[in-house]
């Protein structure tokens, strides 16, 4: 949008003209290289549209059969969800899964299944609705990459390698959990229960993988913001002082002369990135709310279970393992999400801080700096969960303090339940 409004400077036009001829054949696009498998998984599960790669810097809308495929997969998944829901509300079919002795535990488990379903359905529905937006986001990121490549002749790193590790980890966790769950039940399970468990694992995995994908997108943005900031850093007073101290090599040295032109490009880039940041937030915020609610609940109940296990004399290693796997998975994913959100936000806000260190000699330069700073005063860059709360490092802290509080409440309930049982027992 802004690129339409702001006329490109003659030099840029020159660059663009040259690039028509100089553009290298599309080798490997960095965005797809790092996240290829993540994207494949998401495409296969119908969460992302199966887009066409038009060129190395553009993706096109999916073809008709592929759209139908996504629809079909989403439909199948939702049918299975309905199946699970039916199983959950009819008491007989999967009753074996609720084997725990305490009522509270069973209710907790039941709610957990329900929340997982909710989170997964929210993911599927919202992804289905926003499929065009996702393509737009990808295109915009690619556009930014192209601009950066044209300007600086360098391809940006993404450092999204973590997403693959996380996906593998999540899959292993889910399988492990199924095995543990099957082992935990004493009598033989019926087919319904097996299907139920499998679907539950798939739902869980998909909801979590999507969060990893969001984190990866944010990491991509963070790298781009960081690139802007490092470019601007060359103009700050401390760097300029350093340059003045080392005379001689003036060829590659950044001087203030190129500042107006460069800053214009960077402002535009920053605006584009901010828009992408906002659209990612718009796409994902509801999913994030659903997932965070689910994760919060799971962490609380799991910690509680763990606690109960430790306090009783009969330690069951099965339950202990289950608890640790759940805790590890959800904590890691939440930490990943909040870390990436926080980093992206910090980098986005860091631009104005870096720019504040640019001391232009002439009034023109000062005005350029002032304009950006004035613009950024009221511009709140925040990654929110549907406006409910801001996601950054402090979220993790808040979640854990909330978990502690609820844990205390749950323990109190448990105590009440026990003392009631004891009373009943002593009355006999």
């Amino acid at each position: 949008m802004s690129s339409n409004k702001v006329k490109p400077s003659p030099i840029q036009r020159h660059h663009n003209g040259l690039n028509q001829f100089l553009r290298q054949p599309p080798t490997h696009n960095s965005i797809f290289k790092d996240m290829r498998i993540t994207l494949c998984v998401l495409k296969a599960t119908g969460l992302l549209p199966i887009y066409e790669e038009v060129s190395s810097y553009e993706v096109g809308p999916p073809t008709k059969p592929k759209i139908y495929y996504s629809f079909f997969i989403r439909g199948v998944v939702q049918t299975f969800t309905l199946f699970n829901l039916y199983n959950l509300v009819t008491p007989g079919s999967t009753g074996q899964l609720f084997y725990s002795y305490s009522d509270t535990d069973n209710v907790n488990k039941w709610i957990e299944y329900l929340l997982c379903m909710l989170s997964h359905s929210a993911t599927v529905i919202i992804c289905g609705r926003n499929s065009k937006l996702f393509i737009k986001i990808l295109n915009e990121i690619l556009k930014v990459d192209e601009d950066v490549f044209d300007r600086f002749r360098e391809t940006l790193k993404n450092k999204c390698g973590f997403s693959l590790k996380y996906i593998v980890g999540i899959c292993i966790c889910q399988w492990y959990l199924i095995v543990l769950r099957v082992l935990a039940v004493k009598d033989t399970l019926n087919v319904n229960s097996y299907i139920f468990l499998f679907i539950y694992a798939v739902q869980n995995g998909m909801a979590t993988i999507f969060i990893v994908f969001t984190a990866a997108l944010l990491r991509i943005l963070k790298m781009r913001f960081a690139h802007i900031n490092t470019t601007l850093k060359g103009y700050t007073y401390s760097e300029q002082h350093k340059l003045r101290r080392i005379p001689g090599r003036d060829r590659d040295v950044i001087t203030m002369d190129s500042f107006p032109e460069e800053s214009l490009f960077i402002y535009r880039l920053h605006n584009k990135l901010l828009r992408i940041y906002r659209s990612i937030n718009d796409c994902c915020s509801l999913i994030l709310v659903a997932y965070m609610g689910y994760a919060f609940y799971t962490i609380t109940t799991t910690t509680y279970n763990l606690f109960v296990q430790i306090t009783t004399q009969r330690l069951s290693f099965n339950v202990l393992q289950t608890c640790f796997v759940w805790l590890a998975m959800h904590t890691c994913v939440l930490a990943l999400l909040s870390k990436n959100c926080g980093q992206a936000t910090d980098e986005a806000n860091g631009t104005s801080q870096v720019l504040a260190r640019v001391y232009g000699a002439s009034k023109d330069h000062q005005n350029i700096v002032d304009k950006f700073l004035t613009k950024s005063i009221k511009q709140e860059v925040q990654f929110t969960a549907y406006g409910f709360f801001i996601i950054d490092n402090s979220t993790l802290f808040k979640i854990f303090s909330a978990v502690t509080t609820y844990l205390v409440i749950l323990i109190q309930f448990k105590q009440l339940e026990d003392s009631k049982m004891e009373d009943d027992w002593s009355k006999l």
Binding site: I310, A356, V369, D370, L373
Partner: protein, 526 residues
């Protein structure tokens, strides 16, 4: 003047450094510190720190082992969870010390750079004719060390004499119970003094700006008085000389009930279009004014009242620019300090919260005649508890307070800068001030513990609220458990004589957590 050098701030850290080095807290090179007052990393120092750390860990564990045999009956009936939490509470002090030492090792090379940067800032400040008085640092450090040592000794000796069994030679191990907190306090003294050095530099910058304002005001008053008769105001030629008729000034005074200087400014604001657009005031002043330009040289005795704001505008700009850059540099140093000490601060806050809650709870338990873990025996005496708590709380609160004050001080610079703009009151300066204040707005120094929470008064309030509510919850648990136990005891004596023996077994279970979860520990027995 030409070769005035600044003393590095580390000169005043001598006592503290020697003390830390002696105890094996910091790994830096002693010779380099003595000689040229810099912190250099040294391998021998690292080895010493590691050895000290290991030694303290081993001795502390011995202490725990020795004293835990005292509450053997407590431990025998303890559930696994109680055991885990007990370990956690016992070891958090040790963990804190290890964190301090490890981060000291990790930051070895960076701390030297930090103080080098502070020295560079001091040099720059001196170039701007701003002198930073660091003579008080040594006194502050000494005071803090004395306070720390005195409180540690009081806690240690009083606990040792009144509450530890002196006849056993192994009780000498109790000495090591104070090591973790002592190490931690020394590290935090180091941090606090670095922080207050930064705060002082912010303060100095603010004072420099305010001095400029004051001298300018003085000059202005003097010129008004001096120019009374002729109605002339002498100005240096370089600034935009816009002044108003003295009679009009009188009118403003009547209308606005403001002092002359202020009204004067408002009038000036009206004239300058940029200033007008950027300031909210000046609407009421519709009177047309004729700008007079006096290019005549001021009289010689004007030198008595010299104002920097009246000098060549470029010089003023340069000075303000430099101050702004220094402000930024100090902010960056602040961020570095925060980063270097982020983990120790986080652990200290966690420690403060947990220990404060635990100590108060055990105090309650002790007053109720219940058994408490042997390592928290100081809770048996209210006086020692008070001293211990004020010592711990003092440490935490002082750090939070200092961080808060530092970031407030850094934010005040913008206000001081604007005062300059208002008092000098000319277009060019206004533009500079606006430009710089936008920059200042983006210099942020917020002290936080690893980004989890910021260190300010709000957090302090939250933490104290948290301590209170958890204390209430714990006491409630304790009461409920006591009640349940009484009830079950009564029931058992009535119905089943065989079970009383088991219940008698559990009467020793009066530990903090065991009592809490006793009901189902009993259910399991049944």
């Amino acid at each position: 003047m030409a070769h005035q050098t600044v003393q590095p701030i580390l000169v005043h850290f001598g006592t503290l450094f020697t003390f830390c080095k002696l105890l094996g807290l910091y790994p830096h090179d002693l010779q380099a510190f003595r000689g040229i007052h810099t912190l250099q990393s040294s391998k021998i120092g690292t080895a010493i720190v590691v050895v000290t750390m290991l030694a303290v860990v081993v001795l502390y564990n011995l202490l725990i082992y020795f004293f835990s045999s005292e509450d053997h009956d407590l431990k025998a009936s303890q559930s696994t969870l109680t055991f885990v939490i007990g370990i956690f509470l016992t070891y958090i002090g040790l963990g804190m010390m290890i964190t301090d030492q490890l981060s000291a090792l990790r930051n070895q090379s960076k701390t030297g750079e930090l103080y080098e940067r502070i020295r560079a800032v001091d040099e720059q400040l001196l170039k701007e004719n701003v002198y930073v008085d660091i003579s008080k640092t040594a006194k502050n450090i000494l005071l803090m060390i004395v306070l720390t040592v005195v409180s540690e000794l009081i806690i240690l000796i009083s606990t040792y004499i009144t509450l530890v069994d002196l006849t056993d030679w192994k009780s000498i191990l109790w000495l090591f119970s104070c090591f973790p907190t002592l190490y931690n306090s020394l590290d935090k003294i180091w941090f606090a003094n670095t922080l207050s050095a930064l705060k002082q530099r912010f303060f100095v910058i603010n004072t420099a700006l305010e001095d400029m304002v004051e001298s300018h005001e003085r000059l202005k008053r003097w010129t008004e008085n001096g120019g009374d008769g002729g109605g002339q105001i002498f100005r240096r030629p370089s600034i935009a000389n816009v002044s108003i008729d003295p009679s009009l000034e009188y009118l403003y005074k009547e209308l606005t009930h403001m002092e002359a200087v202020k009204a004067y400014n408002m009038a000036r604001n009206k004239i300058s279009p940029i200033a007008h657009s950027l300031n909210s005031f000046g609407d009421a002043l519709e009177t047309p004014k004729k700008p007079y330009k006096y290019t005549s040289q001021p009289p010689t005795f004007n030198m008595v009242y010299e104002s920097e704001l009246n000098k060549d505008i470029e010089k003023v700009e340069e000075k303000l620019n430099n101050l702004c850059q220094l402000h930024d540099e100090i902010c960056e140093i602040g961020k570095l300090v925060n980063e270097l000490w982020s983990y120790p601060i986080l652990v200290l806050m966690a420690y403060g919260f947990l220990i404060f809650t635990a100590q108060l709870y055990f105090l309650y338990c002790a007053t109720q005649g219940q058994a408490i873990p042997s390592l928290f025996r100081s809770a048996k005496s209210a006086t020692i508890t008070t001293i211990f708590l004020s010592y711990t709380a003092g440490k935490c609160i002082y750090l939070i307070y200092l961080s808060w004050k530092t970031s407030l001080e850094s934010k005040r610079t913008g206000i001081c800068l604007h005062k300059c703009g208002v008092v000098a009151d000319n277009n060019l300066l206004y533009e500079i001030v606006n430009h710089l204040s936008l920059k200042l707005l983006n210099h942020s120094v917020d002290f936080s513990a690893c980004g989890f929470f910021t260190l300010d008064m709000e957090t302090l309030y939250g933490v104290s609220g948290g301590i209170t509510s958890y204390l209430i919850i714990l006491i409630q648990f304790n009461l409920a458990a006591q009640q349940a136990k009484d009830a079950s005891n009564a029931a058992e004596t009535n119905y089943n004589t065989m079970l009383t023996t088991e219940a008698g077994n559990t009467t020793a279970l009066m530990d903090y957590f065991t009592t809490t979860f006793m009901p189902y520990a009993q259910t399991d027995l049944y």
